[in-house]
C-alpha cells in the first residue's frame, strides 16, 4: 500500500491503489486486493465518460481529463480493487508498474505477464 503511494512522490495512503484488510478480524489473516488486469474490464464498461480505456495487456488506463468522478467504476469492480482519491475526486487505477512487488518481503504479490486466457 505504502509503496504504491510513493510512486507519486508522496507518503501516507492517499494515492495508494492497493487495499489490504483483514479477512473479518486479524485472526483470519489478511486479504490483499490488487487490480487483476481483467482482459474485459467491467469498470471500463460502466464509465459514462469513456475515461477508462482497456489497456493492452489487461486492466485500464484512466484519462483524468474525461473523468467526472461518478464512482460507477468503484461499484463495478467485483473485487473492489478500485479505490478513491479523495483529494482529486478521481479513481486510483493500478498501472501494473510492479513497484509494490519490490516491497513485499513474503512474495504475496507478483507481477506476471501472461497470454490472454491464461491465469
Amino acid at each position: 500500500m505504502f509503496a504504491c503511494a510513493r510512486r507519486f512522490g508522496e507518503a501516507g495512503l492517499g494515492k495508494s491503489a492497493i487495499n489490504v484488510r483483514s479477512a473479518g478480524g486479524i485472526e483470519r489473516g489478511f486479504i490483499v486486493v490488487v487490480c487483476r488486469a481483467c482482459p474485459d474490464p467491467p469498470c471500463a464498461k460502466v464509465c459514462p465518460a469513456d475515461a477508462l480505456e482497456p489497456r493492452s495487456g489487461g486492466g485500464v488506463i484512466l484519462s483524468p481529463r474525461r473523468c467526472i468522478g461518478c464512482q460507477l467504476c468503484v461499484d463495478a469492480c467485483t473485487i473492489q480493487a478500485i479505490l478513491w482519491d479523495e483529494e482529486m475526486n478521481k479513481p486510483l487505477i493500478c498501472v501494473h508498474c510492479g513497484m509494490c512487488v519490490d516491497f513485499c518481503p513474503y512474495s504475496v504479490i507478483k507481477l506476471e505477464t501472461t497470454e490472454v486466457g491464461q491465469s
Binding site: R6, A11, L13, K15, S22, G25, I26, F30, E86, P105
Partner: protein
C-alpha cells in the same frame, strides 16, 4: 517540519461536553518531534497536579510522530495519562494500525478529556468525531467481541484502528489494558481503567490521507535503505522466526528466567513452554502491524473441545510473546504451552496487562502458601503453582472483585501486599509489576529508575547480558550511565514513533536522514540533546506528582535469588539509583 504537515494538528475531544476541536501546534511538533516528546508536553498542559487518575480531569493523550505513515517500522502510537497503578506517569505504546490511522486521519495527537455519564465509543473519521452510544457494549466482558461489533458497524476496513477495553477496564482494574487490532495492546500502567473511568468503551480512528514529503527522491532512497536493512538484518529475522519467545530457553539456560514468583530463576520445564514448542505445535499465523515488513506477531491456534459433546471443537487464535510466557508461564510454573495459552486467552479476553496479572497471581499463590491469606480471601480458591484452571478462575475474580482481597489485588501487588503483607516477595518496582528478566543488577536498577518502570526504558537486561558474556561487571555508576544513555535515545525513537525492535536499524544518523525527508534539519547531537530534554520533562512531571528516587523500595526477593551475575546486593542497586537520580537532577 514541513509546513502544512497535518502532524501539527491536535484533536481535542471532551467527553463531558461531547465537543471536539482542533488546535494547530506546529511549535510542539517542531520542538518535540511527536510521540512521547509531544505527549509529555500535552500531559503537562492538560493534567493538573494531583488529579485522580480515575477522575474526569485525567486526560488521555495519544501521539504519533513525523515518520509514521512514511517509513517502515514507524508503526507505534504513544499513550500518555496519569496511571491508576502507580499514581504517576502512565505511558504505554502500541502498534497495530493505531499509528498509521491517527497520522492519516490528519493528526499528530489526540487528547481525550472529561468523562461521559453514559457509555460511549468514539468514531473518528478524518475531521469528524462521532460520539456513539455504547450502552449495548457496556458490560461486554470480551475485548474480542467489542472489536467484532464495531468492525461490522463502522466503515474503513484496512485503514482503521479499533482500540477497546474488556471487562477489566470497565471494572477499573488498575492494570487493565486497551486492546487494539485484537492482538496489540496499550498494555502497561492501566490505560484500560482510565478508559473505563470515562465510560469510554472504544475509540475507532480511520484515515488514509497522503503525506507530503520534502524531497521525494531522498524519501525513496531512504526508504529503500531502511527496507533493505530491515529485511536483510538477522536481528529482525529473529523477531520474525520464533519471535520474542526464543528468549524462554535462552534466559532459562542463563538462569535468569523468573520462576515460581522468582523463588528461582530456572524452570526445569521451560523447554515445554519454549518458543520452539509454541512454533512447532501451535503457530497458526504470523502477522504484522501496519507498515512493518517484519511480522513479529505470533498467533497460536489452540483447538479446544467442548466439554459436553464429542467431536465438537472451537479453534482460538491467541497471540503470544516472551513476556506472556514468562508472566503466565514460568512465574506460575505453568508447564504446558496449552496451559499458558488458555491463561493468556483469559487475560486477553478481559483486557488485562499480562505481566501485572501474572505477577499478581504469583504473589497471591505465595501469600496463600505462607498463610498470609486463606480461602476466605481467595473466595474458595486454592491457588497452586502450575494449576492454570484455578488461575483462570482467579483472573475472573480479579475482574469481578467480589471481596476486599480481590479489590486490593485489582490495584496491583504493591497495594495488595501493603494490606496483606508479603511485600518482600511482591515483585513490583515503582508500583509497576516486574518484567521477565532476572538477569542482574542493571535489569532491576532499570526497573526502579526508568521513567515508566519498564524493562523497555533503558533495557537493563541487555547491559547484564553483555556483562555475563564479557565477564566484566560494570559498576553501579557505569550501569546508571548506560541506562540513562539508552533511555534518552529511546525518547527519540518513541517520538518518531519507531518500534523499539528496529532500534538496531534506526541509528542516530539514519534517523537524522529520515527526518530530513520530513523537513527537520537535525544532527545526531541535536537528537541526543532532544532525547535528554524529553526524558527530563518526564521526570519533572513525575517529581511534581510526588515521585522520589530516595523512597524507592526493592522487593527483597530479588536479592535472595541469584542472577547469572551472582547475588545482588542492596548497596549496588541503591548506588545505581543514586547515580541515575544524580544525573537526572543535574540535568534539571
Amino acid at each position: 517540519m514541513i509546513k502544512g504537515d497535518p502532524l501539527s494538528r491536535v484533536l481535542f475531544v471532551d467527553l463531558s461536553l461531547r465537543r471536539f476541536w482542533i488546535e494547530e501546534r506546529q511549535d510542539l511538533f517542531e520542538e518535540r518531534l511527536g510521540g512521547a516528546g509531544a505527549a509529555i508536553e500535552l500531559l503537562q498542559e492538560e493534567c493538573k497536579r494531583g488529579v485522580d487518575p480515575l477522575g474526569p480531569r485525567n486526560p488521555i493523550v495519544f501521539a504519533v510522530g513525523p515518520l509514521n505513515g512514511v517509513f517502515p517500522l514507524a508503526s507505534k502510537t504513544v499513550a500518555m495519562f496519569k496511571s491508576p497503578l502507580t499514581g504517576n506517569l502512565g505511558e504505554s505504546h502500541a502498534g497495530g494500525r493505531s499509528a498509521v490511522a491517527i497520522r492519516l486521519a490528519g493528526y499528530g495527537a489526540i487528547v481525550i478529556k472529561g468523562a461521559s455519564d453514559t457509555p460511549v465509543y468514539l468514531a473518528i473519521q478524518d475531521d469528524r468525531v462521532n460520539f456513539r452510544d455504547a450502552s449495548v457494549l457496556w458490560g461486554m466482558q470480551s475485548s474480542y467481541t467489542v472489536g467484532r461489533v464495531i468492525r461490522e458497524r463502522e466503515s474503513g476496513g484496512g485503514i482503521r484502528t479499533i482500540m477497546r477495553i474488556g471487562g477489566a477496564g470497565e471494572k477499573l482494574v488498575s492494570y487493565a489494558s486497551v486492546v487494539t487490532e485484537t492482538y496489540r495492546h496499550f498494555g502497561r500502567l492501566g490505560l484500560g481503567a482510565v478508559f473505563g473511568s470515562k465510560k469510554l468503551k472504544a475509540v475507532m480512528i480511520q484515515g488514509k490521507r497522503a503525506v507530503k514529503v520534502g524531497d521525494p527522491k531522498l524519501c525513496r532512497e531512504t526508504y529503500r535503505e531502511l527496507y533493505d536493512a530491515i529485511t536483510e538484518s538477522p536481528a529482525m529475522k529473529k523477531y520474525h522466526d520464533l519471535g520474542t519467545p526464543m528468549n524462554v530457553n535462552g534466559l532459562n539456560e542463563l538462569k535468569a528466567l523468573p520462576t515460581q514468583n522468582l523463588k528461582r530463576a530456572y524452570f526445569k520445564a521451560a523447554h515445554s513452554i519454549s518458543g520452539e514448542v509454541f512454533a512447532e505445535g501451535f503457530l497458526g499465523r504470523r502477522v504484522a502491524c501496519a507498515h512493518c515488513p517484519v511480522a513479529c506477531i505470533h498467533l497460536a491456534a489452540l483447538r479446544l473441545p467442548y466439554e459436553d459433546e464429542p467431536y465438537f471443537y472451537k479453534t482460538l487464535m491467541i497471540s503470544y510473546d516472551y513476556e506472556l510466557i514468562y508472566a503466565l508461564g514460568s512465574l506460575l510454573e505453568v508447564d504446558s504451552a496449552e496451559g499458558v495459552l488458555r491463561l493468556v486467552e483469559a487475560v486477553e479476553t478481559f483486557g488485562l496487562d499480562a505481566m501485572s496479572s501474572g505477577v499478581a497471581l504469583a504473589w497471591a499463590t505465595e501469600a496463600q502458601e505462607r498463610g498470609l491469606i486463606t480461602e476466605k480471601e481467595t473466595a474458595g480458591l486454592k491457588l497452586r503453582w502450575s494449576d492454570f484452571d484455578t488461575y483462570i478462575k482467579a483472573v475472573e475474580l480479579i475482574v469481578e472483585q467480589p471481596n476486599d482481597f480481590y479489590r486490593a489485588l485489582a490495584r496491583g501487588v504493591g497495594y495488595a501486599s501493603s494490606i496483606y503483607g508479603g511485600q518482600d516477595f511482591a515483585l513490583a518496582f515503582g508500583g509497576n509489576e516486574m518484567s521477565g528478566y532476572h538477569t542482574g543488577p542493571a535489569a532491576h536498577i532499570g526497573h526502579l529508575t526508568g521513567a515508566r518502570h519498564s524493562h523497555l526504558d533503558g533495557a537493563g537486561y541487555s547491559i547484564d547480558e553483555r556483562a555475563a558474556t564479557s565477564g566484566k561487571s560494570p559498576t553501579a555508576v557505569e550501569i546508571a550511565d548506560r541506562l540513562l544513555e539508552e533511555e534518552r535515545w529511546r525518547q527519540i525513537l518513541s517520538s518518531l514513533v519507531v518500534c523499539f525492535f528496529a532500534r538496531g536499524i534506526y541509528k542516530p544518523q539514519v534517523v537524522a536522514k529520515a527526518l530530513r525527508v520530513m523537513g527537520y534539519e537535525l544532527t545526531s547531537e541535536d537528537l541526543m540533546r532532544k532525547g535528554a530534554e524529553i526524558l527530563k520533562s518526564k521526570h519533572e512531571y513525575k517529581a511534581s506528582e510526588g515521585f522520589d528516587f530516595s523512597r524507592l523500595k526493592l522487593p527483597r526477593r530479588i536479592l535472595e535469588t541469584p542472577t547469572p551475575l551472582g547475588y545482588l546486593t542492596e548497596d549496588l542497586i541503591k548506588d545505581g539509583i543514586r547515580a541515575y537520580a544524580g544525573k537526572i537532577m543535574l540535568s534539571q
